[in-house]
């Protein structure tokens, strides 16, 4: 009798566990892959996993967000301009698709701003004048939609850090913005499970160098 009860109980437990929706389960496993990714092929695997989810969950913007994010991160480590462009093209397609679902999502505009510097680096002389303006536009829009989004301040700080002092950049100007980003990161409450969380460690890393 006891055995039977144990079996039934454990079976029920299994059922309860299965209540966690397939979407959440899949997201959790994809998210874990992304967290552990170090090399380009691991990021691509994570992107593929998110892409599979996005094909089924047509109302969710987060899977699309992570497809784009993984591609952008990979693009920063690519040397080859053609590969870089292909990755960014794919990322842009997914940002566009996500924005159709959630046009007022601050995180998506911040992600757009994260894409531009990689595009600029391919050919600074030509792409710089075209995309620097768009970068600020995206950040401003992201800030309007949610001023508590810490990634906005992190991206602003990085942009300032990489800008020559003659143009109003440099580490001294960037430092207070990094501090503000840190503050925002500390008080950040993710709105959804799997809400973007990245940027905090990088902010702390930069602050320790300044």
């Amino acid at each position: 009798m006891k055995t039977v009860i144990t079996i039934i109980l454990s079976f029920m437990l299994l059922m309860v566990q299965a209540q966690e929706s397939p979407y959440e389960k899949a997201m959790q496993s994809a998210y874990n892959k992304l967290q552990q990714a170090q090399m380009a092929d691991e990021f691509i695997d994570a992107a593929n996993t998110f892409e599979r989810i996005s094909q089924n969950e047509t109302s969710e913007w987060l899977p699309l967000y992570y497809v784009a994010y993984s591609n952008i991160v990979t693009s920063y480590s690519m040397e080859d301009a053609i590969q870089k462009e292909a990755l960014l093209e794919k990322a842009q397609k997914h940002i566009d698709a996500a924005l159709e679902k959630a046009p007022e999502e601050s995180e998506l505009h911040a992600l757009q701003a994260f894409l531009y510097p990689s595009l600029i680096m391919i050919d600074p002389m030509t792409n710089g004048p075209v995309y620097v303006g768009k970068l600020y536009e995206s950040l401003d829009k992201a800030e309007r939609l949610n001023p508590e989004n810490p990634r906005i301040y992190f991206l602003r700080a990085v942009t300032l850090l990489n800008m020559p002092p003659e143009f109003g950049g440099g580490s001294e100007v960037a430092k207070p913005v990094f501090l503000k980003a840190k503050e925002k990161f500390d008080s950040f409450e993710p709105a959804l499970p799997f809400s973007p969380q990245w940027g905090k460690e990088l902010t702390e890393e930069e602050l320790s160098k300044l």
Binding site: I8, N48, T49, M125, E166, F167
Partner: protein
């Protein structure tokens, strides 16, 4: 209790049994494994990424007929039906490469392309504006590319043994009738339009598309920018005048205006000139650019420009041994409107209208030559693309040209003619694979003036010869009406003709581009005459002919992130003609056998300075020496020029400021472009020579520009 246990066990067993493993490998057509491919069952989360050997494996719970999707950037997405029952499935997936712009072959024989948006181009428009020695002139910049001859006293493009009028210019597909400012004798001119108006350009040194006609040697096709990115204004002060611009941007519309007033008075004082100006050259000009996005895929562009320039000088006419007062007044108006729209998923339409009027008033002492040229054009093209494999472009083009010249030099003449030209073309490009592209076109043209209809073929192809290299070839027949200077005297002439054969090999890897091109051109039906400026019947004929052959080499290493960037061009040309009043076949005066140019640019980050240097070399050019019985056998000495440009970006008065300085011929080489000989010999029977030299040895232009 036992039955319950059994059922539970069965359930577990069933559950386990339903898990089917799907595995396999992904390869390309030739059998190379592909990593990073996303493989999954459509409508499920079940899937995997292929590893470095192309292997993949995943399990699934579902059964029945399912579709396995394989997708990867650069490859066509595959859908494979799989029947999932109880057994594991193992299968091979073969991916087909998607033909896209990234690394497919492009037919580029003869063509140099500059573009902001395309990926496989050699030059960016900014390269043109910032190249030292070109004075911000589009034609000057193309002069640093292989295939062009350096002809200092002209300032126009001379391409591969062809006269300057054999190169035609187009803006957004519409003809620019008078692309250069009017020209004083022996003084160089320059292009009318600033390079910053354009975001793309093609300089084709031969074998170009059937879309373009009436050009024997070369075309320059310029594409104007789309919507202005933002509202802005700028004011520039130059050592030779002032320029201003203002742009306004609305959601789907933009309007940009520019104006300039150039006066070389100050500059002429600073750099001593071997010319006596009676009236300092003054140019006033303005442009207007209107852009309107008519739909997601439609764009309406209007461009208008007006310019007026005046100057007067004392010309030493050595041939006639007199001093002449030469005055030049030129008024030019150019307007075009084009509209692009996707009619549906496959058809794109391009419609355009252009208008150009140019009046030139040339005074020689008391005499006067008044010339007016009017061009009107209507053009429509349709482009059909089907599944990325075949692209067909066809169109019709109507050009009305009207030429009038009133001559009052002692006696008066009125020379005039007009021409109605109707042309049609069709051209198809077939992308057989990522490795092979073929293109064939035909152009038909009817001219009312010459009463001729001509149909000519154009063919080209490109084949990939390796991961980074490709071979491209082009062949075509080209023809062009004789120059105005002949047509005004006689319309009983036929078009001049040329045949181009071109073979190009290009290697592009990372930041490097290497290109070598061999060509051969045959010229027939060139205009010959017994006497220049004679209306006598039979004076002008089409009996001339010639050839031109050569090799062009181009090397560029463009490092990213503002590091050094340089390009080197070398051209060898061998060409001879028997045309005009030549007694025998000879190399014309504008042809230099060897042309070399090197351009170097570097951005110095800590100083915010952009440095550009260029060096040009041209071997000696032939000139006619009446003392030498051997026609056109004398050569001038070699030509050298080293130029330097510095651009500094800073903040002044709280606005972004650009300081720019260019110095031409830094080392002061004494260059000689040719010689004029007196018409009559002196007492000893020899004809006296006078060298034709640059106006000033060195020249510098300074600019300061404020972004408001």
């Amino acid at each position: 209790m036992k039955p319950i246990l059994l059922i539970l066990l069965q359930l577990v067993f069933l559950y386990a049994q339903a898990q089917v493993k799907i595995s396999g490998t992904v390869v390309t057509k030739p059998g190379n494994p592909v990593s990073g491919v996303n493989l999954f069952l459509q409508g499920t989360y079940d899937g995997a990424t292929s590893d470095s050997l192309g292997r993949f494996s995943f399990t699934t719970d579902i059964s029945g007929t399912q579709t396995l999707i394989a997708s990867y950037v650069g490859y066509e997405t595959q859908g494979i039906n799989v029947e999932i029952e109880n057994e594991d499935i193992s299968l091979n997936v073969v991916l087909k490469e998607e033909i896209n712009e990234l690394d497919e072959v492009t037919i580029n024989a003869g063509a140099f392309e500059a573009s902001d948006t395309k990926k496989s181009v050699i030059l960016k428009p900014l390269d043109i504006a910032l190249t030292a020695g070109t004075n911000g002139d589009i034609y000057g910049a193309f002069g640093t590319l292989p295939g062009s001859h350096h002809v200092g006293e002209e300032g126009r493009l001379f391409v591969r043994g062809g006269e300057s009028y054999e190169t035609k210019s187009f803006m957004d597909g519409m003809l620019i009738g008078t692309p250069y400012f009017s020209k004083m004798p022996d003084l160089p001119t320059r292009g009318r339009f600033s390079p910053i108006l354009f975001n793309g350009a093609v300089f084709s040194t031969g074998g170009y598309s059937a879309e373009y006609g009436q050009a024997l040697s070369s075309i320059v096709a310029l594409n104007t920018t789309a919507l202005e990115p933002e509202s802005k204004a700028s004011v520039s002060l130059l050592s030779v005048g002032v320029q201003g611009s203002h742009a306004t941007r609305w959601k789907n519309t933009s309007l940009a205006l520019t104006g300039e007033y150039l006066h070389t008075g100050l500059s002429n004082k600073l750099f001593r000139q071997n010319i006596q100006w009676l009236q300092t050259p003054v140019i006033t000009g303005s442009t207007l650019m209107f852009r309107h996005k008519t739909s997601d895929t439609g764009m309406l562009k209007s461009f208008g420009s007006f310019s007026n320039n005046n100057s007067k000088l004392l010309h030493h006419n050595f041939q006639e041994a007199t001093l002449q007062e030469i005055g030049l007044g030129n008024t030019n108006f150019y307007f075009n409107t084009t509209w692009n729209e996707m009619l549906n998923d496959n058809w794109m339409m391009h419609a355009g209208a252009a208008l150009n009027t140019d009046t030139e008033n040339l005074h020689i002492n008391e005499g006067q030559l008044f010339t007016s040229k009017n061009t009107s054009q209507l053009k429509t093209t349709f482009t059909h693309s089907s599944a990325k494999k075949i692209t067909t472009k066809m169109g019709i083009d109507w050009i009305y040209y009207d030429y009038k010249q009133e001559i009052n030099l002692g006696d008066s003449h009125l020379l005039s003619f007009f021409n109605n030209q109707l042309s049609a073309f069709a051209e198809s490009e077939l992308k057989v694979s990522r490795h092979l592209a073929l293109k064939a076109g035909v152009r038909a043209e009817q001219n009312s003036l010459l009463q001729q209809t001509k149909i000519v073929p154009r063919v080209s192809a490109a084949v990939r010869t390796g991961k980074n290299s490709q071979l491209s070839a082009a062949y075509g027949d080209f023809f062009q009406n004789p120059a105005d200077d002949y047509l005004k005297f006689s319309s009983r002439l036929g078009p001049e003709q040329s045949t181009h054969s071109i073979l190009t090999w290009q290697y592009m890897e990372g930041t490097y581009t290497f290109r070598i091109e061999a060509y051969h051109k045959d010229y027939t039906d060139l205009v010959k005459f017994k006497n220049e400026f004679s209306m006598e019947p039979g004076n002008y004929t089409n009996e001339g002919s010639g050839y031109s052959k050569g090799i062009d080499i181009f090397w560029r290493n463009q490092k990213k992130f503002g590091k050094s960037d340089y390009w080197i061009s070398y051209s060898w040309n061998d060409s001879e003609r028997n045309y005009r009043d030549f007694k025998v076949q000879a190399t014309p005066h504008y042809v230099s056998a060897h042309n070399f140019s090197a351009v170097y640019k570097k951005f110095f980050m800590p100083l915010n300075c952009f440095l550009s240097g260029s060096y040009s070399f041209a071997s000696g050019r032939p000139y006619y020496n009446p003392n030498n019985a051997d026609f056109m056998s004398d050569r001038t000495k070699n030509y050298h020029d080293a130029s330097l440009g510095i651009t500094h970006i800073t903040y002044l008065f709280n606005t972004q400021t650009v300081l720019h300085l260019v110095v031409n011929n830094v080392f002061g080489f004494n260059n000689i472009y040719g010689y004029s000989y007196s018409n009559l010999p002196d007492e000893s029977g020899t004809y006296i020579a006078q060298p034709i030299t640059p106006v000033s040895k060195r020249m510098a232009v300074f600019l300061i520009s404020f972004q408001l």
